[in-house]
């Protein structure tokens, strides 16, 4: 049996083809149309695997674009899917920190991979990928470059988590001659503190960091430092939602999954 999970987020669309294990996966930018992005990423994995749509038994869609996907069999939120995906990878209960383009989520998962509790930022962009993107632009950098700056610098204090205020703060720090890596470290620490406040005083034991934000090593280090625990990043942190969707599709068709 073959099933597919598709996760269409605000910045990228991901798909996983699953046959009891991950067979192939693909990541594409979302662009303007979530539906097209979903269709294209599906086409890409089918192409890679040399399969046709008819050979796929079940497709589960997730991510903010899930409602736009008219070719899927079922839509499930990314919160539930992340939980299943990470539980499949780790086999443990724990806390997932997911930093995507527009949202930051903290999800608490039990041993069976079920969501026990979750917190998600509201309208405010503070602490999301968007926040770092705006700051990167303000510094004339690409958001992907943020994570690769040197490690041993003193983070500068960023006093505002409001995207609008922090942007002008960053600009005036630059103008004041503060080094870019110190500002970036400061921004990472600010995001990490924001995430910590979403944990509502519970000190997590196992933390898995996912989403596009998890590709930023500097941010991972900042989270580990603020939370005082080890923060793990899966090999492909962007596809865990799509993986969870695939597992739900698999189980929905009567498949059983062994942990990875």
């Amino acid at each position: 049996m073959l099933v597919v999970g598709i996760d269409v987020g605000s910045t990228s669309a991901k798909a996983v083809l699953f046959d009891g294990r991950i067979k192939v996966y693909a990541i594409q930018p979302t662009g303007w149309s979530p539906r097209e992005a979903g269709a294209e990423v599906l086409a890409e994995i089918l192409d890679k695997a040399g399969l046709s749509r008819r050979e796929v038994a079940n497709i589960v869609g997730t991510g903010y674009g899930r409602v736009a996907l008219n070719f899927i069999d079922q839509a499930v939120t990314e919160i539930t899917c992340q939980a299943r995906g990470i539980n499949y990878l780790t086999g443990k209960a724990g806390t997932i920190i997911d930093i995507g383009g527009q949202d930051t989520k903290v999800i608490t998962v039990n041993e069976q991979g079920k969501v026990v509790d979750f917190v998600m930022n509201d309208k405010c962009a503070a602490g999301t990928g968007r926040f770092l993107e705006v700051m990167a632009t303000a510094m004339g950098m690409d958001v992907d470059e943020l994570g690769s700056l040197p490690e041993n610098v003193n983070p500068v204090n960023i006093s505002s988590m409001c995207t609008v205020f922090a942007e002008s703060e960053v600009i005036s720090l630059l103008a004041g001659g503060v080094a870019r890596e110190e500002i970036v470290a400061g921004l990472h620490r600010a995001v990490a503190r924001r995430v910590k406040s979403m944990l509502k005083n519970t000190a997590p034991a196992t933390v898995v960091f996912t989403g596009g934000g998890a590709k930023n090593e500097g941010l991972r280090r900042a989270l580990a430092a603020e939370l005082g625990v080890e923060v793990m990043v899966p090999a492909e942190p962007q596809i865990t939602g799509a993986l969870g969707a695939a597992i739900i599709a698999w189980e929905g068709n009567g498949g059983a999954v062994a942990h990875n």
Binding site: V67, F118, K123
Partner: protein, 425 residues
Amino acid sequence: MSDTYREMWRELNMDLEKHDVFLGTLPVAFGEVFLRQENRPAGMAYFDNALAEAHGGRIQEILAGKKAGRMVAGTFCVFAPEELIFAVDGISIGLCGGAQFTVPTGEQVLPRNLCPLIKSAMGFKLDRICPYFQAVDFLIGETTCDGKKKTWEILNEYVPTYVMELPQKKGTADLTLWEGEIHRLKEEIEHRSGREITADRLASGIKMANARRDALARLYRARWADPVPISGKDALLISQLAFFDDPERFTAQVNSLCDELEDRIARGEGVARKGAPRILVTGTPMALPYWKLHHLVETSGAVIVGEETCTGTRYFAGRVAEDGRTVEEQVKDLARRLTAINCACFTPNKERVEDILRLVRDARADGVIYFSLQFCQPFGVEGRLVERALQEAGVPVLRLESDYSEEDVAQLKTRIEAFLEMIAS
């Protein structure tokens, strides 16, 4: 729209152009949210029409009453003792605002970081697109949250605003204070209406308000059934209309709708399948035409089976004793409602948690959504204590904060659906 209505709006000094734009948005929203629902009770037809005529027929009625010498008072809080208004045969209108449309105008005179309910209400007045605001003789405000309390001072520049001091605790001294405030309002109303409030008249005012409370309590009880005989959206609409409609007619209509709902229950008929996830909503009021949360929840496969809000159970809490023989006794009885309504403006407010837990049990709710309007301090801050108490009782709870805009609909939907998935698993 008929020419008579246009003429009427012009006489009310409304901004006709802006009003057209505002009214133009409503039918679409209403059709989308309400008319598409399946198997709606036939009795909803009255309320659909009441909403359609909210700026038309109902205003005509109020203006006719006004011509005949009836006083028209606007209120903003469930603590306003409407019984006194009814006692002089006055007309009472609840004026909270629930539309994003008027928020930007409200922000011209109020800070942006104030709850949208206050900004919307203020905007309705400044924009001159609410015929009720234009028709009232005066407003009755209370010292509830700071936002409202300070807004009265500004609103008073546009329409006379009388302020009652609502205590923030529920002790004996507070009750005495509130009783004095009701006496003071009584004098104000007597003065404005030119009618004396006698024990007989007040007794009939109390009976009228109680009858409406009883009808709404009956409606809310019907929602405990599984399958639920009426959607949360429809029940919310009815609660919202309670603030505008003629109380006696409204009460009769709610009761006849309840007859229909009770028949449905007896037949096991509902608007959602038996066993559909049941949600209780608690938090800030949802003023007309705010339907966003209910719509999101009920288009995600769940049903809302109750609201612990001021457009819900808090509105009809605190039935007033009907056996007071003197005005003195009656005012004491009216004051006692203070202890029966558990609003976050009070401290401490532990009874609210008890109310919520009881409602969860009665309505057999699977989970609670704690909803607060953005920048609402009382309900925002109290959320933590309520959330913890619910978790300790093993009741799943989702906290949401939002405003009247549509920007965050996708995020809210994700959270609501994830919450429902969590409850189901």
